[in-house]
Symmetry: C2
Subunit: 412 residues, 2 copies
């Protein structure tokens, strides 16, 4: 075995999820118990914490508070949306990272994030190899968007999906209460992939789901949309619609475009307000009572509805990253492989080279979407339903969540 002794850094990046801390805890807990890893450092605000040498000594934390990370949404160490340059164009950041790595004798780097973070991870891994610094770099995936390449699904997706399906079922009850019909447009996250919005379809299995679903995988047509809603409303006296924030016209322009306001730092337009736009259109077209609902941040931080399966798999991903790195693996992201045993869903980890993952987006296969492009087929439900199973035993105080409290003591 190729033994490498030294400190490790765990950093978190990108938008938070309900279970990203479960993965970080998987890394921290496993690293603290590893003989090869001499110190476990938590980077404040991801790669920025490395650049600024703001590294917390995780070994000084109360073990019980660390354990509570499993049930604490959002990135406990702090996140960032900082994109490091291509090393050929500007290697300033890389030199600084190397300097900090050397200062703390960092030999393991674990980065917990989505697509952009895997790109960061890949660049650091390649740079360290190019300068001959012995260091193992591993990606620990997270994204509610479920759009990472090469893995069956992503940590964080299932908990958001469960939040969406449950909220949809509850809103369905509410929207069918009056004898005067109601149209509801629920806007769900997902810029380029419709995995989250499709999760609303899980509610259909239990008789309380959307009549129509629009995903970014299919070009959006406003006239067809209006026709669909009018038809359902005429038939049923109500209509529930799930739309992805990322739906776009044939020319690629976002339907929400009129409202594009700011920039999130990675060059994505910040979307929002789509539900309000579509509700207004439907109000004018149908004269019905229409409600636009945007699930907003709630869907990515609603840890009270987390999937126990997701929590445990997220922890497993962090654990596997450390175990594989200690065993000599470098430059890989942990992925998930679905294994059906006796008809039952199980999941095991696998290794995916970062070079294959970075900047590739996985979308819903077109044949999982109905021909009209306004609903999903049973393949999607078969795929997603096992992922949302299980109720975590949430720690609470006075019936409110008890989140972890970290001391965050800077390493010397």
């Amino acid at each position: 075995m190729n033994e490498l002794k030294g400190a490790c850094i765990i950093g978190q990046s990108g938008g938070p999820t309900s279970v990203i801390n479960a993965s970080a805890y998987g890394v921290i807990d496993t690293a603290l118990k590893s003989g090869a890893i001499t110190q476990v450092l938590g980077a404040e605000h991801g790669i920025k914490g490395v650049l600024n040498d703001r590294l917390f000594d995780m070994g000084l934390e109360d073990p019980e508070e660390l354990r509570l990370m499993k049930y604490t949404p959002s990135s406990a160490l702090g996140s960032c949306r900082y994109k490091i340059a291509d090393p050929e164009k500007d290697d300033t950041d890389y030199k600084r990272i190397l300097e900090v790595f050397k200062k703390h004798n960092v030999r393991y780097f674990f980065y917990n994030g989505g697509n952009d973070s895997m790109d960061t991870c890949h660049k650091i891994s390649a740079y360290m190899q190019s300068v001959g610094y012995d260091c193992r770099v591993m990606g620990v995936p997270k994204t509610i968007d479920n759009d990472l390449f090469g893995t069956d699904h992503c940590p964080g997706y299932a908990s958001a999906a469960k939040y969406i399906a449950t909220s949809m079922m509850e809103v369905y009850q509410d929207a069918h209460v009056y004898d005067t019909g109601m149209i509801v447009v629920m806007e769900i996250m997902g810029r380029h992939a419709g995995w989250l919005t499709a999760a609303a379809a899980l509610a259909n299995e239990y008789g309380a789901g959307p009549d129509l679903i629009y995903l970014p995988e299919v070009d959006f047509s406003m006239p067809r949309f209006i026709e669909d809603v009018k038809r359902v409303y005429a038939e049923k006296g109500s209509c529930i619609v799930a739309v992805s924030e990322g739906i776009h016209y044939e020319d690629g322009s976002f339907v929400s475009e009129a409202k594009v306001a700011a920039n999130d730092g990675f060059g994505h337009a910040q979307l929002g307000g789509l539900a309000a736009i579509l509700a207004q259109v439907l109000k004018e077209q149908t004269g019905a009572k229409v409600r636009g609902i945007e699930l907003n941040l709630l869907q990515r931080c609603g840890a009270h509805l987390a999937s126990e399966t997701d929590i445990e798999e997220s922890f497993m991903a962090g654990k596997a990253a450390v175990e594989n790195a200690v065993n000599g693996i470098n430059g890989c992201m942990i992925g998930f492989e679905r294994v059906i045993k006796n008809g039952k869903y199980t999941c095991k980890t696998k290794l995916i080279p970062l070079s294959e993952v970075a900047n590739v987006e996985k979308k819903i296969p077109r044949d999982w979407i109905n021909e009209a492009g306004n609903g999903v087929k049973s393949q999607f439900v078969d795929y997603a339903l096992p992922l949302i199973q299980g109720e975590p035993n949430l720690p609470k105080v006075d019936s409110l969540p008890r989140f972890c409290k970290l001391k965050k003591i800077l390493a010397k």
Copy 2:
């Protein structure tokens, strides 16, 4: 004892809550077991179901499905926002109600709703007395707004409050994740009373609550609001604001007024879009990243976060309505009285004449709100915290909610 034998009607009215069905189940279960009540009829869409003689025979329902009503949000029998006329002006509806009552030998009428429903209830009670029809009319309160007069609190409030406080705590985690600060404006329901918005303050007890709270009890000033947010943002690098949809300027006009769109049938303006308006103002004024979040329908139907205390009290209110009516009480609403026993919260029912309840709104006492009018004091927390306690054992199938399925067979 004044024994009166005959059928009963239970109807639901107004906006749904997470636990209105728990109250309806309290009525139905108790009535089915009562010797005095010969048949239990559920009115489809409240008083409209009576007018249209659309009455379900609740005795034909599966008892287990009826029990699941305790955990099913929204009005299982259907609701309405139909306002009956003053009987002196137009007694058509009352004559029709009497006709239907006589047809089914209805001697008990239970109406499950908020302020407007108690007014309906009161008018029917007075009419039946005036025409000498022996019938007992009782109000079973429900409203997330918590604004009914004469009761310590209202069934439905606590579950919505728990949803709001929990969501606030989760959003707090999310909003503090980046090193670049963020301003969040969370819009919470409540037209004239701030009970729901104030519930966000419960999150402050656990270190994850709003910095500023604006309630309809205090006149809103846009310049002061901007100044407050700027001050907090300068100090902390972030700012979380909870605002009631009903905040208004000194002249009484709603801050959200620009967006007033429709009418809900009772003559209230339908509010919405306030979070977006305030977020836009703050963006312009601070240049910060600002998120407007509207909790929307989710807060009133989020049964997955219901308070067990609220569920059990709601059931108790329905039960007490039947028991009191059978014992000869007429023309009253069931209210709650808080009793502190050995420092512990307990709750018992009491009777409040409908004449005192109808159309009076209970607001948060001014001295529970801080002097600056941008936060609440400990009296509010002491009041609200006991109400949200307890986790219901939610029935689920495949980790999604299992709501009741009623057959709704029309009575002959």
